[in-house]
């Protein structure tokens, strides 16, 4: 016999007397504000392990398998409701949250935009299930860490020696760098774009004209109106939700595979740092829409029969717009070289690395100077040969080769300096 009400329903407000209304019970997960992780065997602290994808005891090695299944891109997406946008605009505030450690009783305060905390006194890992302004605005999905700290060291060591521009003693710093695993907030956006474009497109053709009694060929440009429609689906466009991470480095290190998304569970955050968004939904959606606009515009322009056009105009209707708030894994590390500190980021899923590297400018200048030598020597040889009557005929081709060598050297120098500057500035 079915009991009434069913277990998964709770009594809710009713506007009519004599009628009781029950609604599905809200998910239990968020009812626990702080989740602490202890080993069921030895009570020591447990933390998420990228190596085996579960909780591992730092003391006795007890392993607890992950509880969630991979949902990938099937992860639930949300609509842009007026209510959500208004509430998202409130953000997380600037207050700090007071936490009382259940283990040692010490009170500590953390910023409200941090989702995890490790008690500085007993080392207990705590995940703060921050109350979001609306349920959908808490992280609902994440990509778990797959890259271990040891992998990071190896990747960093390789990265610090894969260019001749880097100082020789840099590689050993990889061993001393501290890698902090952190979940970074990201927004993903989907939208269907229906665009109509119109532009005057240039068509060139050769025309023969008579001028001053002579027949000449002229290139004439004819402008013709063209138009078209583009239907484009933008799937899972990623927009960074944090202002505190270098956008340049994030861009270099992109390439998260969202097929590995799993539903949010506090255990994935145990022992990691995790940040809540500080770039709100509306602001992020504006950035996302701008990226979609540019992509759709580019797709419209490719439809034209020529890429030279003027008076380009287009209308663009977005529909089926949805979003997700997710956490993506990242390792952050800094190392000191000389008097400077350099930042490194490693994609916690793919192991892709990006960061700043100190450039040995003496080496760069030396190598670029040496690259000029063949051109200079060939130039001098060309001058010598040209001044000698017997070898004057050979001087010209040698001079030509010298010019080519000079061009090659200049290209090399420009590329080298560009790369060096990128390494330094990233």
């Amino acid at each position: 016999m079915m009991t009434f009400p069913p277990d998964n329903y709770v009594l809710t407000e009713s506007a009519v007397s004599g009628i009781e209304v029950y609604m599905p019970r809200p998910p239990k997960e968020m009812q626990q504000e702080v989740v602490e992780f202890h080993c069921p065997q030895c009570d020591a602290t447990t933390a998420y392990s990228a190596e085996n994808g579960g909780l591992t005891c730092t003391h006795c090695g007890h392993y607890e398998a992950p509880v969630q299944e991979v949902v990938g891109k099937a992860a639930v997406e949300f609509e842009f409701t007026v209510e959500t946008i208004e509430r998202a605009a409130h953000g997380w505030g600037i207050e700090r949250k007071e936490l009382s450690c259940n283990r040692c009783g010490v009170h500590t305060t953390i910023a409200t935009d941090m989702l995890t905390h490790t008690c500085p006194f007993c080392g207990s890992n705590q995940v703060v299930q921050v109350k979001a302004p609306q349920d959908v605005l808490r992280p609902r999905f994440l990509v778990p860490f797959k890259t271990t700290e040891d992998n990071c060291r190896q990747i960093t060591a390789n990265w610090l020696q894969n260019s001749w521009m880097l100082p020789k003693d840099l590689q050993k710093l990889a061993r001393t760098a501290e890698f902090t695993p952190i979940y970074i907030p990201f927004w993903t956006f989907d939208a269907h774009a229906s665009a109509y474009w119109r532009a005057e497109v240039a068509h060139t053709k050769q025309k023969t004209v008579w001028s001053g009694g002579r027949r000449t060929t002229k290139t004439v440009t004819e402008w013709r109106w063209e138009s078209g429609n583009v239907e484009q689906f933008h799937d899972d466009l990623l927009v960074n939700g944090s202002n505190q991470i270098s956008k340049v480095l994030l861009r270099q290190m992109r390439g998260y595979d969202l097929q590995e998304l799993v539903p949010y569970d506090a255990s994935y955050l145990a022992g990691m740092q995790a940040q809540a968004y500080d770039i709100g939904l509306e602001e992020a959606w504006e950035l996302g829409r701008d990226a979609m606009r540019q992509r759709t515009k580019a797709a419209c322009r490719t439809q034209a029969t020529s890429q030279r056009m003027r008076n380009f105009s287009m209308s663009l209707d977005f529909s089926k717009e949805t979003w997700r708030y997710i956490l993506l894994p990242l390792y952050l590390a800094t190392y000191a070289y000389g008097n400077e500190r350099f930042q490194v980021m490693i994609n916690g899923q793919s192991g892709k690395i990006a960061g700043q590297r100190p450039v040995d400018w003496r080496k760069v200048i030396g190598v670029t100077a040496v690259s000029m030598l063949p051109a200079i020597l060939l130039g001098l040889l060309s001058l010598y040969l040209s001044n000698n009557v017997a070898t004057a005929d050979v001087g010209v081709p040698v001079g030509f080769v010298a010019v080519l060598a000079l061009i090659g050297a200049l290209v090399f120098i420009i590329r080298a300096v560009q790369t060096a500057l990128q390494m330094d500035d990233a």
Binding site: P5, G18, I19, V21, T81, R293, K297, S313, S315, L316
Partner: protein, 387 residues
């Protein structure tokens, strides 16, 4: 023919000496004022009314009504409505005149059940909540993007369930098989003018006795209560929409009340002397009747127009003959032949119009369809013998 009602027993409870009569055409059972001649059925207009013996022919429900909704439409409105009906019928039969309709007008009360009940139920439904989503329309012109925000209302469906313990008063349930059709044809009666039944209410008017007892009408009453309960549950859950409402309900404290509703009936005969009923809601004057065109009248018009065409044709032929002698006559002859042809063609229009009216009616809506069902099914119009 007058029936002696002095022997009746249960009709005494109605407070008036009334005659029990039954119609073998529409199966209606009526209580008529004693002075009313037992000839024409007040409900189907046929001469098929027979006196019944109250002791032998006991109707399904004999109790007097508790409540009554009085006739409120004025005589002036009645005359206007009937005149409009007669006037707006194309090629109306000779019998369809406002005078005839008025002369045959009969007031009759129709029964309706009002049920009170306590309901205890468990229910479940999907509640729909409106919400707005924001979308964007963009335009790129002169190197700049212009964005327009668009808001669209959508419905979020959520499951809800609950318990209900409510008392319902005066829920309508049919006391006649054809109640739904009558309601469709004549509109809903407003119950705010209800008063207790008085015996003198039936001095002039007939009363149609229920052909559905409460136990039989309970199925519809239950459905009607379910609809009300669904709406109340929607309000309780503060939802904007509801769907898939299901309930398991127990009812007690049921109380059935018979209410009489006012109706005027009248009729006219078509060319074949068939009866066609016209009904008028006695409260708001809504009138619904079968419109029949007279094919005889249409034929007369067709002959008249056709004759005119023939006359024009003959004159045109004469002009054509004259054209041999005076050429100026030939164009007139040509014009005359064309006009004769056009007039000749239009001669079929009255016949077509009359056929169309008899086949499809002037217009067709739910009310007209309900009337057609009433007359075709309940009154067996196809089987009516000529008067």
């Amino acid at each position: 023919m007058m029936l002696n009602t002095t022997k009746t027993t249960w009709t005494d409870t109605w407070g008036q000496p009334l005659t029990l009569a039954g119609c073998w055409q529409c199966d209606g059972v009526f209580l008529l004022p004693p002075q009313r001649p037992l000839t024409i059925c007040p409900y189907c207009g046929q001469e098929s009314l027979d006196a019944l013996d109250t002791a032998v022919d006991r109707p399904v429900y004999t109790q007097p009504p508790e409540l009554l909704l009085p006739f409120t439409i004025t005589d002036v409105n009645i005359q206007e409505n009937l005149a409009q009906f007669a006037k707006k019928t194309w090629f109306a039969p000779a019998d369809l005149s406002p005078q005839n309709l008025l002369a045959r007008l009969q007031p009759i009360y129709l029964p309706l059940w009002l049920v009170d009940a306590n309901a205890q139920a468990t229910w479940q439904a999907e509640m729909g909540y409106n919400y707005q989503v924001v979308s964007h329309k963009e335009a790129f012109q002169s190197g700049q993007w212009r964005t327009q925000e668009v808001r669209e209302t959508r419905i979020r469906w959520e499951p809800r369930l609950g318990r209900l313990n409510r008392h319902y008063d005066n829920q309508m349930a049919p006391a006649l098989e054809e109640q739904r059709l009558l309601e469709l044809a004549l509109g809903t009666y407003q119950l705010n003018g209800i008063r207790p039944y008085r015996p003198d209410d039936l001095i002039q008017a007939a009363a149609h006795l229920p052909n559905r007892p409460p136990a039989d009408a309970w199925t519809e009453a239950r459905e009607s209560l379910k609809k009300i309960a669904a709406e109340e549950c929607r309000q309780a859950a503060a939802a904007d929409h509801i769907r898939e409402f299901r309930w398991t309900a127990d009812f007690d404290a049921q109380n059935w009340t018979q209410l009489l509703l006012p109706l005027y009936t009248t009729f006219y005969h078509d060319d074949e002397s068939r009866v066609h009923m016209v009904f008028m809601n006695g409260q708001n004057g809504n009138l619904r009747g079968q419109r029949r065109a007279s094919m005889q009248k249409a034929r007369r018009w067709a002959i008249l127009i056709g004759s005119s065409a023939v006359v024009i044709f003959v004159i045109s032929l004469l002009l054509a003959l004259l054209g041999h002698f005076r050429e100026a006559m030939l164009p007139w002859a040509g014009a005359g032949l064309t006009i004769a042809l056009l007039v000749g063609v239009t001669a079929v229009l009255p016949l077509l119009a009359a056929w169309y009216v008899n086949r499809f009616g002037h217009f067709y809506d739910d009310g007209q369809q309900a009337l057609a069902e009433l007359t075709n099914v309940a009154w067996k119009a196809g089987e009516q013998p000529p008067v």
